[in-house]
């Protein structure tokens, strides 16, 4: 019983810490927007936005897990994220662009690694062949 309670408290405090982190980030963003648009944000607004973000993140997480399970996978992939973001078109576009960028980066990295591996092989072969 005590352990369960302790765990709960830990989880709760963990959640609180996460919420606090989100609140802080939302506050920073709001300050940026306020300085851009020259509009003030009340504290309640910031708190509302952070609460909303937190709950939405929870929902996203559950949905992502559901999507991954629906596709009979154990890991959440970019396809799941894209499925989640398909509602708003601009977000979907942004995500697909980012996805392509990442894919390109991966390809480049793989190409580099292959090159390095080939160079290493050649260098190991040459001295072997030379002898």
């Amino acid at each position: 019983m005590e352990e369960v309670e302790a765990e709960e408290q830990q989880g709760f405090s963990h959640q609180q810490r996460l919420k606090a982190a989100v609140h802080y980030t939302v506050g920073c963003l709001c300050n940026e927007v306020a300085s851009d648009k020259e509009i003030q944000f009340s504290k309640q607004t910031v708190a509302a936005i952070s609460e909303l973000t937190f709950r939405q993140c929870e929902m996203f997480a559950k949905d992502l897990e559901m999507f991954a399970r629906h596709a009979k996978r154990n890991t959440i992939s970019t396809d799941d994220v894209k499925l989640l973001a398909r509602r708003s078109n601009s977000l979907l576009k942004y995500i697909t662009e980012k996805n392509e960028e990442i894919a390109q980066l991966n390809l480049e990295r793989k190409a580099k690694k292959k090159k390095q591996a080939e160079d290493a092989n050649q260098s190991s072969r040459e001295p072997a062949g030379g002898e």
Binding site: D63, M66, H70, A71, D79, L83, R86, S88, N89
Partner: protein
């Protein structure tokens, strides 16, 4: 009746049937008539047995004739009405009425006739349900006849011969058989030349009658005719000279720039064009369908996010267009328009309650006719090979969402304006489109092409109807009628079998 010696290689109807009767068992389904038929059969079989002993056919025929002439009238009278016939009696009638030698047709043609009659008689037996004379017994007799037509052809003739049979029986019933044997034989031989199978079994067995295929081509022809009339009516008279009879003729000079103009302009203009194209096509195809399409078409406009999808589709169109030659430039302009119309619905709406694009058979037919576009809008598609795209099926209930609107007005407990009901319908339409889009995306996400129960469960989970506490089965039990519960919820039956299988 001329008694001619026939070699064994040319069996006539009589001989074949005689063989059949000899080899068949003495079983009848109708017990009460068995005595009478037995008597008749023994009477017949005595000459038949005599025939078997002797080699020459002529003697047997004479004997059988003699026997038959005595029994014939008894046969005919004993048979009574058409309804109570046995196959055996039918065969007897064939023997009575079938001619020895054809009066009109030469012998070579008579062979398939006789064979078909024999086969038909067996078919009639099987169709009547009394299988006393079974097909394998008939086969040896059939294989004797050389130059048999193909089995497929035989089937066609079978229908005719059934009709013939009934005609013959009708004739024999009404008048005396010997007098009309020639007439019936004439009709039988003549009626074989008919190509179209009339409905032979219409009177007796309406369920088994094969209805002639309804040719869809005729409808398309009428439709094309209507299109032509429409287009001709709208075209200016000077351009009649320029009209080609080719399917992809160059369009009118005045119309082509407008065609080209419509395509480079993306976004809402394109949507309007597609709307118009869709609505025009609907008009040309069927005025009755228009009411369904006008509703979703009007919804296309206020949707800004769908503009980007239309743009995407247009890019696809233009890419496709660039592949085609310059000669077909105008024709490609035409298909790009309807392709736009087809693809935007593809992208936006997948499973629709209302009717949608024409069936694949239509575009080639439409393209064949195409001379000028309808009212400056590219409408016709070239017969490009249509890949298996998403299936656009018609609304089977044709009621649309009016049912739900009525429900809404019922539960509102207050009188509702018509406009309000329309808006409710629009909202419902959007809602269902959204849901079905989600379903399709879910199915695609799982790498499937069909929407399954898992997809629906996922959707309901997202909606919040299915939770960790309430499962889909619980909802099925609560809200659906009892029969669906059986179909949806797997249940174990005897023998370790689970239905429905998972």
């Amino acid at each position: 009746m001329a008694d001619r010696y026939r070699p064994d290689s040319e069996p006539t109807t009589r001989t074949l049937l005689q063989r059949v009767l000899d080899t068949a068992d003495l079983r009848t389904p109708r017990r009460r008539r068995s005595r009478r038929t037995l008597a008749q059969r023994t009477f017949l079989e005595s000459p038949a047995s005599k025939r078997l002993s002797s080699q020459t056919k002529t003697t047997t025929r004479r004997r059988s004739h003699g026997a038959r002439s005595v029994v014939r009238l008894a046969h005919v009278q004993a048979n009574g009405d058409l309804e109570e016939q046995t196959p055996r009696t039918l065969l007897k009638n064939i023997l009575l009425t079938a001619p020895e030698s054809s009066i009109v047709m030469p012998d070579s043609v008579m062979k398939p006739v006789e064979v078909s009659k024999v086969v038909q008689s067996s078919r009639q037996e099987s169709s009547q349900g009394s299988l006393e004379l079974q097909l394998p017994e008939l086969e040896p007799s059939l294989t004797l006849a050389p130059g048999l037509p193909a089995p497929g052809k035989r089937k066609q003739r079978l229908r005719l011969s059934v009709f013939q049979q009934e005609v013959n029986q009708g004739l024999t019933r009404s008048q005396e058989p010997p007098g009309n044997a020639d007439v019936s034989s004439l009709t039988s031989s003549l009626s074989l030349t008919f190509a179209t199978p009339l409905q032979p079994q219409s009177v007796k067995r309406p369920g088994l009658a094969r209805r002639p295929l309804t040719r869809r081509a005729v409808d398309i022809g009428a439709l094309l005719q209507g299109l032509r009339d429409n287009s001709l009516a709208s075209a200016p008279p000077a351009d009649i000279v320029l009209e080609d009879t080719q399917p992809f003729s160059q369009p009118l000079v005045g119309c082509s720039p407008s065609v080209h103009h419509s395509l480079p302009h993306p976004s809402h203009i394109g949507i309007e064009d597609t709307e118009r194209a869709v609505s025009h096509r609907r008009q040309s195809i069927g005025p009755g369908q228009q009411s369904h399409i006008s509703l979703p078409c009007s919804e296309l406009q206020p949707q800004p996010p769908e503009v980007t999808e239309a743009v995407g589709s247009q890019e696809v169109m233009e890419a496709r267009k660039s592949k085609e030659s310059s000669e077909d430039e105008d024709t490609s302009g035409r298909p790009a328009g309807p392709e736009l119309a087809s693809s935007t619905p593809d992208l936006l709406k997948t499973k629709q309650p209302h009717q949608f694009l024409e069936p694949p058979s239509l575009p080639p037919g439409v393209a064949v006719l195409s001379s000028e576009p309808l009212e400056s809008m590219p409408v016709r598609l070239p017969p490009r090979p249509r890949t298996a795209g998403p299936r656009h099926h018609q609304d089977p209930y044709k009621a649309g969402l009016s049912y739900y609107a009525k429900l809404f007005s019922f539960y509102a407990k207050m009188p509702m304006e018509k406009k309000a009901l329309e808006i409710v319908e629009k909202c419902l339409d959007k809602y269902f489109q959204h849901l079905c889009n989600d379903l399709e995306v879910f199915a695609d996400h799982a790498g499937r092409k069909t929407v399954k129960v898992e997809d629906l469960e996922l959707l309901m989970r997202r909606q919040g109807l299915v939770t960790d506490q309430i499962s889909l089965h619980v909802l099925v039990e609560r809200h659906l009628p009892l029969e669906y519960r059986q179909l949806l919820i797997p249940c174990a039956f005897t023998g370790n079998s689970v239905f429905p299988t998972q």
